[in-house]
């Protein structure tokens, strides 16, 4: 079964759960930025939670069905239509040969996840199909290119019964809580005022936002150290360069970095931030490690 890509603004790519075990070689993690919506899209079809999905960023993406099948859509509402019928995210749906699936523009959130029964077929490069353009790794052709016009997506799983999610399960989009931060050991290098500001101010998501990182605009944060000896950086790390405006590092971040860090967002907070449009106003809140780990276990229990 296949889908033909009729139009693509180069912001749609194949993503699985990411590339692991090779970060010591300088290879980034990759994978779905909103891993929760990806997991739900796969869950709706009975797939492994990290099976290959299409991550569609902002829209401008049109597909033509070349066979009757069933697909699932989760994450951002990108004003999707099946022929001319509106298609809400958070459900699996039937698609017939000749029908056109269109993602126009963002109405809520940034990234939508399209899943197919059994996962989309893709070659594995370094054990993953996660597309990382900068590294020329992953994707449909294994060369890191995003999905383009004329590409064909294939899959071979059997279509299960249709399902839909309760909307309150779609946490990345439905929560207005502050983003939780596990504090890092360099927290003591920041001035008292900066620490107060970090957790008591509003932060605005900047235009400079991609799969490597998202910049936040707000009060200037000062650390007594301008830079450090470069070291490994985890997903969600909040690094503060000399201009004092934090950058949250996402899936395609460089593997090591030398700016002081406030800490790291929890995985839930990373997924939520990945769905924030530039201009979104948000807050940060420290969380104890144990509480953050418990929250993560509860989240994962959703899919057991």
């Amino acid at each position: 079964m296949s889908l033909l890509i009729e139009r693509s603004g180069a912001m749609a790519s194949l993503q699985d759960g990411g590339r692991f075990g090779v970060r010591h070689l300088g290879v980034t993690q990759g994978g779905a930025a909103d891993w929760i919506s990806q997991a739900w899209a796969n869950w709706l079809l009975g797939n492994p939670l990290q099976a290959a999905t299409v991550e569609i960023t902002l829209g401008n993406f049109v597909l033509l069905a070349e066979a009757d099948s069933c697909l699932a859509l989760c994450g951002a509402d990108l004003a999707a239509t099946l022929d001319d019928q509106p298609l809400e995210p958070g459900r699996s749906f039937n698609i017939r040969k000749g029908q056109c699936l269109t993602f126009a523009q963002p109405r809520r959130g940034v990234r939508a996840y399209l899943a197919a029964p059994g996962g989309f077929a893709a070659p594995l490069t370094l054990d993953s199909c996660a597309t990382v353009r900068r590294e020329a790794l992953g994707g449909l052709h294994g060369d890191g290119q995003p999905l383009g016009q004329g590409d064909r997506l294939h899959w071979s799983g059997a279509a299960p019964e249709l399902r839909a999610l309760d909307t309150d399960l779609i946490t990345p989009l439905s929560s207005a809580e502050p983003l939780q931060v596990v504090l890092g050991a360099q927290i003591g290098d920041f001035s008292g005022q900066s620490l107060f500001d970090a957790f008591n101010s509003e932060w605005t998501v900047d235009q400079r936002a991609d799969r490597m990182g998202i910049r936040l605009l707000g009060p200037v944060l000062r650390s007594s150290r301008q830079s450090m000896i470069s070291e490994g950086v985890p997903l969600g790390a909040i690094q503060v360069p000399p201009d004092g405006q934090p950058i949250v590092l996402l899936n395609d971040r460089q593997t090591i970095g030398g700016y002081p860090r406030l800490g790291a967002l929890t995985p839930l907070a990373v997924a939520r931030l990945a769905q924030c449009m530039p201009g979104t106003v948000l807050r940060l809140k420290p969380v104890a490690l144990e509480a953050a780990q418990r929250q993560q276990s509860r989240l994962l229990a959703n899919w057991r």
Binding site: F20, G21, V22, R23, H24, L25, G26, V27, Q29, T125, L126, R134, E135, A136, L137, V182, L183, G184, A185, I229, S230, E231, G232, V233, P234, L235, G236, A237, Q254, T255, I256, R261, G263, A264, T266, P267, L289, E290, A292, Q293, Q296, S297, L300
Partner: protein
């Protein structure tokens, strides 16, 4: 060595072994790296070594924070430095030439060594691979002779050709892929550094020692190098 363990994320610990960059630290970092891989086993998702630290990304489904710390303690118990058992010696050919190394002339003048002096000095000593990062297979090596130390370019180039050899401060590296970059370029290597066809994907690993072999243009081309002159991109 005074090891400290820091929390850096819900499933990541930073093992901080040293406070300064020093080639003498590498055998300790290599030994710790090897032992951590043993004690964590299948619960290790990724291990990222750098100059003074090891980032440990573990599987929260298999270990909690306490158990992860115990594994780190086990790994460090009676740790002895690796006497270079796994470290390899690599010879990497480089065509040092102003046409592919746009900063070579200026460095020759600034150092007072001239172009041939820079080539001689840069290729005279073996370099330690401290860490891989920035891009797949990009090895941070050092330390270069003090008189070759050069600050990064004020404005990084948007596109640096694959194989370009550069200097930043007292570090040296080759860009494995075309990428943006702000290092001072002095030559180009024809060697494939990162390739999924290579065993282990990368020709080098932290701890390896690298010597640059100056070659002529004809040899560079024979080895498959692309000798198109450096184009200044806006």
């Amino acid at each position: 060595m005074k090891a400290r363990i820091e929390v850096v994320g819900i499933d990541c610990l930073m093992l901080r072994l040293f406070d300064e960059i020093d080639e003498a630290h590498m055998p300790w970092l290599l030994a710790a790296s090897r032992r951590l891989r043993e004690t964590f086993g299948a619960a290790l998702i990724d291990l990222v070594p750098s100059y003074t630290t090891l980032l440990i990304h573990y599987d929260l489904a298999q270990l909690d924070d306490d158990q992860a710390r115990q594994r780190v303690a086990q790994a460090l118990h009676e740790l002895q430095p690796d006497a270079g058992g796994q470290a390899r010696e690599l010879d990497i050919p480089v065509w040092y030439d102003p046409s592919v190394g746009p900063e070579l002339d200026a460095l020759g003048q600034r150092s007072g060594l001239g172009v041939s002096g820079v080539i001689e000095r840069h290729s005279a000593r073996p370099y330690q691979v401290f860490a891989l990062g920035f891009a797949p297979g990009f090895a941070f090596m050092g330390l270069v002779d003090e008189c070759l130390a050069s600050p990064r370019l004020k404005t990084p180039r948007k596109q640096v050709p694959a194989g370009s050899l550069g200097i930043a401060d007292r570090q040296t590296a080759i860009y494995p892929l075309v990428s943006p970059g702000g290092w001072n370029l002095i030559g180009r290597s024809p060697t494939r550094l990162f390739d999924r066809e290579l065993d282990g994907y990368s020709i080098w690993q932290p701890g390896d020692r690298v010597r640059f072999q100056p070659i002529e243009r004809a040899e560079f081309v024979r080895l498959g190098g692309d000798d198109s002159p450096f184009e200044v991109t806006p």
